[in-house]
Structures are given as C-alpha cells and as structure tokens.
Symmetry: D4
Subunit: 149 residues, 8 copies
C-alpha cells in the first residue's frame, strides 16, 4: 500500500500533473529523485492509471449528461456490461443496489444523440428489460479528483 507521502504526491499531481518534481519535493521535504521514485512505483502498482487532460465538455459541444438505470435479465448481465463498455459516450457503468441492476452515465452532443444511444445502442443489447432515464439539466460538479488527505 501507499503511505502518507505518496498520498500527498498524488494530491499534487491530481491538481497539476506538470508540477516540477523539485517543487513537489520541496513541499514534502524530500528530494526530487525520491519523488520521481515514488511516482514510478505508483505507476507500476497501478495506483496512477493514466496522465491526462481534463476537458470541459461544454466547450467541445458535449452538452448533455444523463444517467440511465437498467433492469436486466441477470443471466445476461456480463454480456450486457461488455457491450455497454464499447458504446461511445458511456463514461460510467455501475452495478448497483436498488431496483435497477446497472446505472450508466452517458455524455452526448444533444437530446437527439442521447436518445440514439439509449434507444438504438442500448436497445440492441439482448437482456435489457427496462430502462429509466434521468437527464442532467445542469452539471454543477463532475470531477475525477479523489480526496486522499
């Protein structure tokens, strides 16, 4: 497992992946090479999965976020999930408690393309029994920043 110093490094990198090693080291009172070594270890361990840019969806015309609750035939759950994995625009897939079996998060250009995903793509999946759709009027927060400290 990772220690408190690792967590502090992750916290800094989550805010800005380009923070210089020296700067990170200065904050944590360790040397830059030590920071480098820890980051390398966390990449190897799979703690750091990816280094990426975060895009503001509105600026690229992906204006619509919605959630779809899916009730499924349970013996087809695995297949349904693996098909959902490959539908463009499906950003999250969660097996959940409650009356639905799967909750998915979808991003789309507009109502029409959202519906195309829900009706045409999800519908092609064998074993989907019932869906309920919730559209986000407005997204107040949508981050991948995980609080570690």
């Amino acid at each position: 497992m990772i220690d408190e110093t690792d967590k502090k490094i992750l916290d800094i990198l989550q805010r800005d992946v380009n923070t210089p090693l020296r700067e990170i080291g200065a904050v944590l009172n360790i040397s830059a090479p030590a920071v480098f070594k820890r980051i390398k270890k966390m990449k190897k361990m799979g703690v750091i999965r990816r280094e990426t840019v975060i895009i503001d969806p509105k600026t690229v015309g992906m204006d619509l976020i919605g959630f779809v609750g899916i009730a499924a035939e349970l013996d087809k759950l695995d297949k349904i999930v693996s098909t959902l994995m490959n539908i463009k625009g499906v950003l999250g897939i969660y097996l959940i408690t409650g009356e639905f079996d799967i909750l998915i998060k979808v991003i789309a250009r507009d109502m029409k393309s959202f519906r195309d995903i829900v009706i045409h793509k999800i519908n092609e999946i064998d074993g989907v029994v019932r869906t309920t759709t919730m559209i986000s009027f407005e997204t107040k927060k949508d981050t991948n920043y995980i609080p570690l400290l």
Copy 2:
C-alpha cells in the same frame, strides 16, 4: 470553436498527456510548434481545464462508489448545491429530471464512511427533504475520457 485537428490533439492528450509534441504533429501532419500553439489556445479557451493523473480508487482504499438522489426544497437548491460542492468525497453533482432534484456521486473508504457522508454531512444541509441511496457493488467503468472523434 475548435476544429477537427484540435479534436485529434485532445483525443491523444486524453490518452496520454505526456505524448511528445513531435509525435502528435507527425500523426496530424503538422509541425510540433503548431501543435503547441493549438494546445495553448485550448488551455486559454478553457477547453483543457486541467492536466492530471487518474488514480485507481481501489489501490488507495477508496473502495465504495455510491449515488444519492436528493429531493430538495427548491428555494434552497442553490444553497444546498454550494454546500454539497464542499463535501469531501462528492465527485459529481447533477440537477436532474425525474423525481429527484439532485443526483450526486460519492466516493468513500467503506460503508461506514459513506453513511457518515450521507447521514451526517448531507443531513446538515437545510432543505434536503428526502434521499435515496444506491451503492455500487462493482464499478465496471468510470472514466473522464470524452469521445470526440
């Protein structure tokens, strides 16, 4: 707005923010400085909000993802949202259609700390009428990668 070349750059950077400019330029048949200029423009425009590391929540002991539907007194909606913004572990806040007014995504260490957030933190917010909780048994996908191509 951004053009197709910008989108291709964003797609590459979403996969790996550290891809060398030269490599990007080679793929797109433009010069490295042209790539640099476009990235700079997109940062200024707010298209690129942040450069970050993506952490695997399980490796850092954040094992539990859940969603909470909140029915609110509508005249207190703004205050509720601004309080939710500051609750550690609340990664998404969506104003949605349907029977709930707000859907939030929460990440927590375990059931107990999840419940602390739901019962103690969300409860302190004036105007919350009713909540429904859905826990993710298993997270099959949870990405911030936005498909642009």
Copy 3:
C-alpha cells in the same frame, strides 16, 4: 348542441380556417349563407373559441417540451392553479388522478430556461410539495385538432 352538419363544418375549419364558405357548402350540400349562419352560431355558443395560426415550435426556437407532475397542499390548489395560469410557457394545466395533483405541460427555449420555469417560477408558488419532471426527447405529435367525425 351541435348537429352532424356542424361537426363537418368544424372538421373542415380545423384543417383550414380559410376554406371558402362556398366550398364548405358544396361539400355539405347546403348554401354558403347557411354555412356562415352555422359558423356564427358556433362562435356565439363558444364552440369555436378562437381562430388562430398553428406555429411549428422548432422553427421559432422553442425546442423543449416537458411535463411536470406537481403534488400540492390541497387547500392551496386553487391559488397554485391561478399562479400557474400566468406563467409564460405553461401551455396545459390538468388536475389529474394518480399520485400527482396537477400535471402541467411546459414549452421552453432550452434546458436552462425550462429549469428556470420549474425551479424558480413554480417554486415561488406556496403549497407545492413535490415535483417530477419529464422531458420530451422528441415530439412525434402535438395537435389541437379534435376528431369529431
């Protein structure tokens, strides 16, 4: 009450209010003045409420149709209805059976202005307990033509 000939006239006028009296008379085997007399009578009786143009909402940028179910404090129902009557964009108000007391039909420019109506305007009404919103992805039919024949 109106007779079968009246109904036929209404059917023609619903399709095109500008159909010449003579043409209507020819179809029904009565004289144009007889048609005129019947139309006049039906206006007086309140059968014909208004002569109007039907606008295609999309062409004027009113792209969003939604329905809102409202559960109300029943002793405030009359006041709630009379307030709803004056909210721009509320095209239909129905007191209905089932779990909601009122169902309203709303037209708006976009998601944001729709939500402004739901959250800010409807919220200002005292006695509204709970609302559920359904957004129309796509309107397949939306007519005022009443089948009489």
Copy 4:
C-alpha cells in the same frame, strides 16, 4: 430564422388569425404589404403550419382528457409510434425521459370510450409492455398559443 417583427406578427395571428393586415402593420409601423410578405415567408418556411379554429372540447361532447404513460420494447418503438399516430383521439405523442418511453395525450367522449382507446386500440400494438393512465378531473388550461415575446 425569424426576427422580432415576425414574432410580433405571429403573436397577433395566434390571438386572431383574421386580424386585418393593415391593423397588424399599424401596430408594427410597417406597411400591410410588408406584413403580407412576412406571413407568406413564414408559411413557406413552415413556421406557420396551419390556420385553424380552436374548439372548446366540452361544447362538442369531448369531455375527457387523459394521459397514458407507455413502457415499450425499444426495438418496436418506431412502429408503436406510427400506429399511435393514426389512433383517433391521440392528440399528443412524446418520447420522454423517466420510467416511461412514451407519453400520450388522449381526448375522448367519456370514460368508456377513453378505455376503449387505451385497452383495445393501444393494446393491439405489438411491443407495448406496460401502461399507466392518468385522467384529467378538470382541464384548467390547454392551449396551443406559444409565447414568443
């Protein structure tokens, strides 16, 4: 797209399609021929779909308005909609968010003929899974007037 003057013309015509061109022109400070030209353009553009009479349903014995939520097999959605289009009394067909896929508005003479539509007509449609019916006790507003100003 249409401009502010067009919108004012539409607003007047929605209130009374027979308003003389001269009268409209006087309000808008343009000539009657200019008004005529704009109306002609808006008909051509499809902004004005129809000129019609609005009937008071009660006076013609169409006393009952109801809404039916329909959950459908999604791969049969298109066929279901096209069948619904031809059922007499179905005035509105909306593909909606939430637990139902389609919401329809129905007008009928009485409870019995309403039920005939719901049970016998809608039932003949292959792919309808579940329906929920809401009857309007009282219609407080039901207009096609679209607010443009």
Copy 5:
C-alpha cells in the same frame, strides 16, 4: 329515471328493508299502495337489484379483507375478469386508472386462505403480469348504503 320520492323510499329501504309500507307512506305523505307501486317499478327497472341481509364478516370468521392490484396483458383482460368473477371471496372487481389495470377486493378466513386465493387462484389465470397486495389491518367502514338524499 327515479324522482325524489323514489329516492326517499330507497333511503328508507336501505336502512331497513322490512319497514312497513304504511310507515314509509306516512313519512312521505303518500298512500301505502303508492309506495308499493313505486317499489315494484324500481324492482322492474333494476334500481333495486336484491333484498338481502348484511352480515358482519367477523362474526362468521371472515376476518381478512384485502385488495389486490393486478397488471394484466390487456388482450386477456376480458378473460381474466370473467375468471375473477367466479373466484369465491372476490367481492369487488374494478377496472381502474393508474399503474394497475384491475383492483379487486377479497375477503377470506385468514392470511393463509387469502394467500391461497392470491397465489393459487389468481395465478391460474393466464395473462396476469404482476400483482400487489394490500391487507386491511382493520376495517373501519364497509357498507353498501348509497347516499341518495
């Protein structure tokens, strides 16, 4: 149709079918034979369906009253109803608005025999999709007396 005097007679007979004609006549200021004639007419018209004793269910060990909402395949609705008609203990069958198609009222000796009706008898009916059961803890009122005055 029946008149006010008929209604008064019905009201008296509902309270006690054995009220002497003379006594009824005295209350209504008409002769006993006139009362007799009116009762005869109302039997012939079908206004009076039956003369009966009302039993207190508890005293005969029929302790349990419950309601069952039934969602049905609509094309089998007629057959389902005609089968329900013949199930002993089913006292009421109503085609209703809302999420269920049929609501039935059932009386039974105890929980076990109630469940036998719901699970074994209702289940044998082809076309029943889903049922919801509500048991009456306590029956505060259960009358066939129709208020006419």
Copy 6:
C-alpha cells in the same frame, strides 16, 4: 359461533331476504319455527347486521366509483378516520399495509363531485399528508355477498 345450518340460512337470506321460512326449512330439513329461532339468534348476536335493498348505482346516477390511498400523520389517524366516517359517499375505510395508511372507497355522481370529495372534504381533515386517486373505469363486480359455504 354459528354452525353449518346457520351458514346455509345466511346464504339463502343473502340471496333473498324474503325467502319464506318454510322454504328455507324445507331445504335444510328443519321446521320453519326452528329457522325463525336461528335467524332471531343471529340478529341478536350481530351476525345479521341489517336487512336491506341493494341498489344498482348506475340507475340512480351514482356512476363513479373510485379509491383513494391516504398517507396520514399517524398520531392523527383516529381523528382522520372519524371524519372520513361522516363524509357522504365514502363507502369503505380500510387501514392497510403498504405505502398508504388508509384506503377509502368513494361513490359519486361524476368526476366533478368525486373531486369535490377528494379535494375539498378530505383536504379539510388535518393530518392528511398525501393522497393517490384511482378511478374505476368500469365496475365488473361490487357485492356484499359473503361466501359461507
């Protein structure tokens, strides 16, 4: 408690309260006075609550039967029930399992008078939190005949 012979008498009287004692006695192989004695006993015991006529509601213009589920503040349940007892048209009051606390059966002349009962009368009762209304499209069975054999 009553015995099998009593039950047979009750069954006959439920079908026709005017069946001659002799006729009943013949069927049961007992004397007419013995039948009389048993009936008298059952009246005294409260088994037979009332002798009455059963009216066909439609013939007297009571065309609408509906059910209302009431969620109540539980500490006001007794008062709510005693008020409901005195509302004309409320034929049944049941304290039930499930999401509602009270289910009532209402009979009314038409939609309008039904709604007056639901909105104005039931609403005057302090402690009613939420109501759901189900209207009977058609009453297929509605009897007070209790099966004893």
Copy 7:
C-alpha cells in the same frame, strides 16, 4: 398451549440456555425437576426448536446483511422457495404483501460475495422476474429473542 410459567422459563432460557434448573426453579417458585419436566415437554411440543450459540457476524467476517425483494412468476413460487432454502447465506425467506412476492434476508462476507448470491445463485432460479436489493449500512439490532412476557 403453554402457560405463564412456561413462558417465564422460555424467557430465561432465551437469555442463557445454561441457567441451572435450580436457579430457574427458585425464580418461579417451583422445583428443579418441575422445570426439567416443563422444558422436556416444550422440546417435545416443538416450542423449543433448537439450543444454539448466537454468533456476532462481524467477528467471523460476515459483515454484510442485505434484503432482496423478489417478484416471481407465481406458479413457480414453491420451487423458487425450495431453491432459496438451500442457498448458503439466505437466513430468512418471507412471503410478503406489497409489490414483491418474497423478501429474503442474506448474510455475506462482503459486497462481492453478496452480489454473487443475488446475481448468480438467485438468478439460476427459474421464475424470478425482478429483484430489488437493500444493503444494511449498519445493523443496530438482529436478535432471535422473542418477547413472551
């Protein structure tokens, strides 16, 4: 049936099955052999089903308690129940009123093994139509002690 003295014995034994007969006798003012005789009788009658240890599930790593509502095809209910009887971890099976036909209580090591039971084991049962899962965040009480006094 058992008497008050028996109930007092049962109450003591429920608290501690090892309470000496003499001690029980002293409390109840009867002899130890009389206590013994009563216990023996209650075992024979089936009042006492088992003598057992109660384990604290957390201490043995059975951390998760959940409930699953099951809607079933009713003609397969008996088979479903008999299959559920043999699923390890299913501690309670109740045929219930309301929208579900069966409610089961499940205990499991963790979310994953809980889901395995719900999805893989329960799913293998033919006739299960729909399930809803509720997870216990925290178990405040879970006892088999039946209050008899």
Copy 8:
C-alpha cells in the same frame, strides 16, 4: 481472528449447543480440553454472544412477522434507533440503502397488536416521516444459523 477449527466448532455449536466437548473433539481430531479452550476464547472475544434456545414463534402464539420501512428525518436518526431498540417485538433494526432509511423486523401476536406497534409505538417517535408495512403471509425460513464452512 478465528481459524478453520474454530469455525468448525461454531458450526457444531450452532446446530446443538449441548454437543459434548469430547464429541466435538473427536470430529476435529483435537482433545476435549482444546475444544473447551477455544470456546472460552471465542466467548471472550465476543464471537459467541449468547447461548440460547430457539423458539418456534407459532407455538407460542407469535404468529405475525412483518417488516416496516421507515423514512426518517436524518438528524433524528440516532434517537429514533435508540427508541426502536426498546420497543418489544422489534427483532431487527437495519440502516439500509434505497428509499427508506431504516428497515425493521417486527414480531407480534396478530394483526391488531402488529398495528399497535406500527401506529402507536413507532408513531410516538419524533422524526418518523413515512412508513411502509409489509406483512409476511408465511415464513418459510427464519434462522440465526450463520454458514461458516
């Protein structure tokens, strides 16, 4: 933590707390004193909470098992739970996911005493917003035996 041998001992004791130590030892290939030592340790650790008799509720006239879902004001949750803890007949209290905050299991003599608990006892608790009751028609399984092997 406990080991596999401990689990086997617990499994035996759950089936019959009176199994002789020697017999247990023979099965597990350890000495009786070793079994004794392990049991003593598990009592000390709190693994074994209680040694008790399991009563068949029907034989003691506790015929009714039901579940009540409680939606609560969250800031009063702790108080509500501590009051529920002391209500006779409440055997289980679970803080659960989904639309209710608390699920309780109740045992009672009959419908009437069940309702007394739900309406009068639970109602006295400040902060209870809404309850839903499910009654068990039939209890197919209800055990405290925890599968460890």
